[in-house]
């Protein structure tokens, strides 16, 4: 396995040992036109706080582009550039390759620079998925693609995306009298798909900013392991999910505690669960999904039947061979192989 040694050195970023040891410096600061209680803005702040000053950030179109750069102004302290809706993967790869080339030619000082490209669920999971997938196969370039998932095209006033949960009220799926549930598709499993489909991508993780230290440490791991990496962040959105902005943090916690969203990382093929998700995998009870769903106006039309369906689908997720990661079942040989490890 000679290929697994990567020619590009990465920065040394030790995990933060607790909230008191987190660096005070802000690299994404105040003065952005985001909603009250915007969890995605918090993701940006924590992402670059973890990455540090020698970082280039690329952002595809979405709230975190439009809201953060109103007219010729910026809240970014590190260099940031806009890239088109579907091109976060290409931008990450191109920037990493460009930096490497400039350094090889001696046109710029050789040093490890973090390259992070972020995309929303529309830009990443719908439009940009092909480019992200391609980037995750280029193991000689270090980059991190962070998908901030607020489960709709929130910037343009909440159209449904491939990441919108079943039955949610969006501009494209308003519940009606004749038909209550308009959006009948189940949400894509982005992190699992990226981990399962890119054997040479060394690190894929899911995060939620309500668990800030865990989130920052996963960003640090993704930036230091070498090669392309992928992080999926679930971001409660007060605008599109329709809830009091004060509840942003609480809804992030509830998503994990009800088992709707798992927190895990896949490092070199090894799955590690985190926190509440870990205790759920170990068999401790999940909170019922209704505690999470009924706090949001986008599910206000749900009946008991809809809640039961949603609960059953979430229950199913925890029966997967690798619970909540990839939807495979009853592969005895694969199971045996896992047990050997």
């Amino acid at each position: 396995m000679a290929e697994t040694t990567f020619p590009n050195a990465t920065q040394v970023l030790e995990p933060f040992r607790g909230i008191k040891r987190v660096t005070m410096e802000e690299y994404f600061t105040s003065g952005h036109r985001t909603c009250q209680g915007c969890e995605s803005a918090l993701v940006m702040k924590l992402m670059v706080k973890a990455a540090g000053p020698r970082t280039i950030v690329l952002g595809s179109t979405g709230c975190m582009y439009v809201a953060n750069t109103t007219y010729y102004t910026t809240p970014w302290v590190v260099p940031w550039m806009h890239t088109q809706l579907g091109s976060s993967g290409s931008a990450a790869l191109g920037t990493a390759a460009g930096l490497k080339s400039l350094m090889r030619k001696g046109k710029m000082k050789a040093e490890p620079i973090n390259v992070i490209a972020f995309c929303g669920d529309g830009g990443g999971a719908d439009m940009g998925i092909g480019a992200i997938s391609a980037t995750l196969t280029h193991k000689e370039y270090n980059s991190l693609i962070l998908l901030y998932d607020n489960e709709s095209y929130a910037n343009t006033d909440i159209q449904l995306s491939g990441m919108t949960p079943y039955g949610a009220h969006t501009t494209f799926s308003p519940p009606g009298k004749a038909k209550r549930i308009i959006h009948t598709r189940w949400k894509k499993n982005m992190a699992g798909m990226m981990a399962a489909g890119h054997p040479e991508c060394r690190y894929v993780a899911t995060v939620c900013a309500s668990f800030a230290v865990d989130m920052m440490n996963k960003v640090r791991r993704a930036l230091t392991i070498g090669g392309p990496t992928f992080i999926h962040s679930l971001d409660p959105c007060p605008k599109g999910w329709d809830y009091d902005p004060m509840l942003s943090h609480e809804l992030g916690e509830l998503a994990i505690e009800t088992g709707v969203f798992p927190l895990y990382e896949v490092e070199d093929g090894q799955v590690k669960y985190y926190g509440k998700t870990k205790s759920i995998v170990e068999g401790r009870p999940r909170k019922p999904v209704r505690e999470y769903l009924l706090k949001q106006g986008r599910f206000a039309h749900f009946t008991e039947e809809d809640l039961a369906y949603f609960q059953a689908k979430v229950d199913e997720m925890w029966q997967w061979e690798i619970p909540a990661v990839v939807p495979f079942r009853r592969l005895d040989r694969a199971k045996a192989a896992l047990e050997v490890k």
């Binding site: 909230i19 003065g31 915007c38 329709d242």
Partner: protein, 402 residues
């Protein structure tokens, strides 16, 4: 031959559906009065964000030709009536970077009207509203600001109460009968709402505001870059790194100097520095990085960048260490930590006065659970609030029907 223009100044998303109903109601009431009307939102406010001020406009004219003449504008420069549905907007309106703070009454023509929903006395509102060099009328509807979200609407009759009040303010364009007819025919109308519109018409209070009366402060503005000063490739300088607060301790981040969040805020955190356990949770959880780290390890919410979401209060583990209080009870954006450091007893008195104000600590900023809005309306009425109608509305609250 005449036309009238109204603007609705409202909180983005929280009041988007409310404002849309009001301007639609104006146009339909105008039709019932035999006139023509049009309603539109301000293009520059889109995409809207929770809490960030936005505007809708409605124009009513006697003839179609006159309406077309008034429509041939990107955005009205003068309005006959400014309708404001949240009194914390009296402090000013800042929609984007580069706007600076725009006084709420800026577009009102001499002798025009500012119609505002508020529970405050005139004097308190005038402390916030910037002075104008022409007189205008301030009309009050006694109501709390009605906030909901995109999908579930708070059916507290605010929209029809505004329409009823307008019939009193501009009877030449909207008669009360026309408003009532329009309300009863609209998909979100009802007999209860017609009664509410009539009540608002009867109860409307108003007062003449003299030229020069009001908040004497000059609204802050920015020196905008000239086009020849802009850099190649539309690149802009990054924000510099922050600095320690004082004596090498603490941390104060640099911030975007062209977009502040004074006018996004509907509530602000009031902090008890004596009970703070320095757990860092408010600081790390703030999406707007508004907390400056003080040399003693406590955190001061910087009022230039706090947008008032309340996440800090939600994550704070100490009871009443952070309390969100309605923006209307504050007169400035001064540092709370500085005040606390200067005189701890005076600060405690000030703080207790703010956080024990039960009117100002009421929170209704959108959906929390099904049936919440109906409960809120009922408890408001039970507490001796302004009766809307004889009944508690709520049948329509399940779905948006704009």
């Amino acid at each position: 031959m005449a036309a009238f223009t109204a603007e609705i100044v409202y909180r983005g998303i929280f009041q988007k559906n409310l404002a849309a109903r009001i301007v639609r109601g104006i146009v339909l009431s105008a039709r019932k009065s035999g006139r023509w009307g049009i309603a539109f939102g301000r293009y520059g406010d889109s995409p809207q964000r929770n809490g960030i001020p936005a505007k809708d406009f409605a124009i009513v004219a006697d003839t179609k030709e006159e309406l077309e003449q008034n429509m041939a504008r990107y955005e009205p420069k003068h309005v006959d009536v400014t309708i404001c549905v949240d009194d914390t907007l009296a402090k000013g309106v800042e929609s984007w970077a580069w706007y600076g703070l725009q006084p709420l009454n800026r577009l009102i023509v001499p002798g025009g009207t500012l119609l505002i929903t508020s529970l405050q006395p005139y004097g308190d509102i005038l402390r916030d509203i910037h002075r104008k060099d022409t007189p205008f009328t301030m009309a009050l509807i006694r109501a709390r600001a009605s906030f909901s979200g995109l999908w579930v609407y708070k059916e507290d009759h605010t929209e029809v109460r505004i329409l009823g009040a307008l019939a009193k303010i501009v009877p030449a364009f909207l008669s009360l009968d026309a408003v009532c007819q329009a309300v009863s025919e609209m998909e979100w109308g009802s007999d209860l709402k017609v009664a509410s519109a009539r009540k608002a018409y009867d109860r409307l209070e108003s007062r003449e505001i003299e030229a020069g009366e009001g908040n004497p402060e000059t609204p802050y503005s920015f020196e905008l870059p000239r086009w020849w000063e802009m850099r190649e490739g539309v690149s802009i300088p990054a924000i510099p790194l922050g600095k320690p607060k004082e004596g090498g301790k603490g941390y104060v981040p640099e911030r975007n100097p062209y977009f502040k969040k004074f006018s996004t805020r509907t509530m602000r955190p009031v902090i008890d520095f004596d009970t703070c356990v320095k757990c860092n949770l408010c600081w790390i959880s703030c999406p707007d990085s508004c907390f400056d780290v003080m040399p003693d390890g406590t955190f001061d919410a910087n009022m230039e960048s706090c947008c008032g979401c309340g996440v800090c209060e939600a994550v704070c583990p100490v009871e009443k260490c952070i309390t969100m209080v309605n923006e209307s009870v504050f007169d400035d954006n001064a540092s709370q930590w500085d005040a606390w450091r200067q005189d701890k007893d005076a600060y405690r008195t000030w703080m207790i006065d703010k956080i024990s104000n039960t009117q100002a600590t009421v929170r209704s900023h959108g959906f929390r659970f099904r049936g919440q809005y109906e409960e809120e309306l009922k408890s408001e009425l039970d507490a001796g609030g302004q009766a809307i109608t004889a009944g508690i509305p709520g049948e329509n609250a399940q779905h948006k029907t704009v």
